[in-house]
């Protein structure tokens, strides 16, 4: 629908400035970190080799080769990721509340658009997902660059190889990039549902204010329980359900949770929302 696309475009444009800063921060921190970690390693190695008058291979025997984990475990690499994740989590809430804040009554404008109000919900949801995927993609593009920088700074003898299959051994990244594409879809699918449920909970609060917080919490817990039903069924009646039946059950549970989040959001936006 055209209104949906226009709203997505609008929401993304609103955030782009901050987003570019986030991306810039990540790039700078990680690139600088790559240089620093590699240079520091080489300096340390050279210093010890000189001071103790040992050969490179002796050094390697005692201290080991350079491991890429030094870099991927460092603050230079991890802190921007954590920061971006934290900021995006905050924005999941802020993307709604910013339209109500203080003198800002932009929510009036959104609610009076000649389109189904649920488009607002879908647009904000899509925006969040795109922001997440954008950073995910950025990191993927950065990795070979960072590896190249380090490889060029650390001399041959001290190097180990690094292949991208080893991503699953790294902290945080192993979660962001599951081994198989089906798992990627599952992980981020669950993320999407979580954001959808949070959005609907926010709409409960915006529709009923104080009572709404209570509704929001009850709704959240209910959604969680429905989602977990297949898992719970399986733990109580182990082996009663065959794997493919459990999978179908889980799919149904997922559809129920996502479907009800959307349906409730639509209902709240149409009939219960309060500016």
């Amino acid at each position: 629908m055209k209104s949906f696309l226009k709203l997505v475009n609008f929401e993304l444009n609103r955030f782009f400035k901050l987003y570019f800063i986030l991306m810039g921060l990540t790039i700078v921190s990680q690139i600088v970190g790559a240089f620093i970690v590699a240079i520091v390693y080489m300096n340390d190695a050279e210093r010890i080799i000189y001071e103790r008058q040992i050969s490179s291979s002796q050094y390697i025997e005692e201290y080991g080769v350079f491991s890429f984990f030094n870099y991927f475990n460092s603050g230079w690499f991890l802190m921007p990721i954590i920061f971006c994740i934290a900021l995006l989590i905050l924005y999941v809430f802020f993307i709604w509340y910013r339209d109500w804040l203080g003198k800002n009554t932009f929510i009036y404008r959104l609610l009076m658009l000649p389109a189904n109000r649920v488009n607002i919900y879908f647009a904000k949801l899509t925006t969040i997902m795109m922001l997440v995927f954008g950073l995910v993609g950025l990191q993927l593009l950065m990795l070979p660059v960072e590896v190249k920088i380090i490889k060029s700074l650390v001399s041959e003898d001290f190097q180990t190889s690094f292949s991208f299959n080893e991503i699953h051994h790294l902290p945080i990244l192993s979660w962001l990039y599951p081994v198989r594409f089906t798992e990627f879809v599952m992980m981020y699918g669950i993320g999407l549902i979580l954001v959808a449920v949070i959005f609907t909970a926010i709409l409960f609060e915006r529709s009923y204010r104080l009572k709404g917080i209570f509704f929001a919490i009850v709704y959240g817990i209910l959604s969680f329980c429905v989602f977990m039903v297949p898992l719970l069924l399986n733990s109580f009646y182990t082996n009663y359900f065959y794997p493919n039946e459990l999978l179908v059950l889980q799919l149904v549970a997922t559809i129920i949770v996502l479907g009800s989040a959307i349906w409730i959001a639509n209902h709240l936006l149409k009939h219960k929302i309060r500016v």
Partner: protein, 229 residues
Amino acid sequence: MIEVKNVKKKYGKKQVLSGLSFTADKGEITCLIGINGVGKTTIMKAIMALIPINSGEILIDGEKIRKESFEKVTFIPDSLAMLPKMRIRDAIEFMADFYKNWNPKRAEELMQFFKLDTTDRIADLSKGNMAKVNLLLGLALDVDYLLMDEPFSGIDIFSREQIAEVFTSHLIEDRGVIITTHEINDIEHLIDKAVLIDNGAVIKEFRVEEVREQEGKSVIDIMREVYLG
């Protein structure tokens, strides 16, 4: 015609609207009059489905509000309904993008009439100019009905005169307008129908011309009678 039928609304324990009923016709300016907190802004928001109502019915040209209705009726609230960081031209672009019935020529006309500059950021404008932008964003839509909440509040006298001018111009002509205001003096001569509200209900609904001719009373006279008498 916009019909408000017996609308009730409670905020917590407070009954803000207690069975409010009135009608506003196309081609007429209807003014909702009442002291602060009596429910004027509330009913306008209710007409635009910006707040839910507990009971009653609101019909726009005989039907309940739908998404298409927002091309027929627009609301100009007393606060800015656009992002303050935007420049005026960004706001105009936004409206043009989302509304089929955005009239760019009229927008241009209003820009010149109000002497505004498209490159100004909305947040940097004076209160008067901000109100004018607000008005512009509503008036440049080819809608049948305009709802304006306190268009004159906190505005300097010259801006007020400019805004009042708009009412007599072709910009309003065939449209139906519902307006709330304290400054009854400024527009008494413009309104067609007055709706006096107290405690969330309509106390008196009358045609201004008729009352002036038949009883020789002005709106303020009637108000005195009703509220103080």
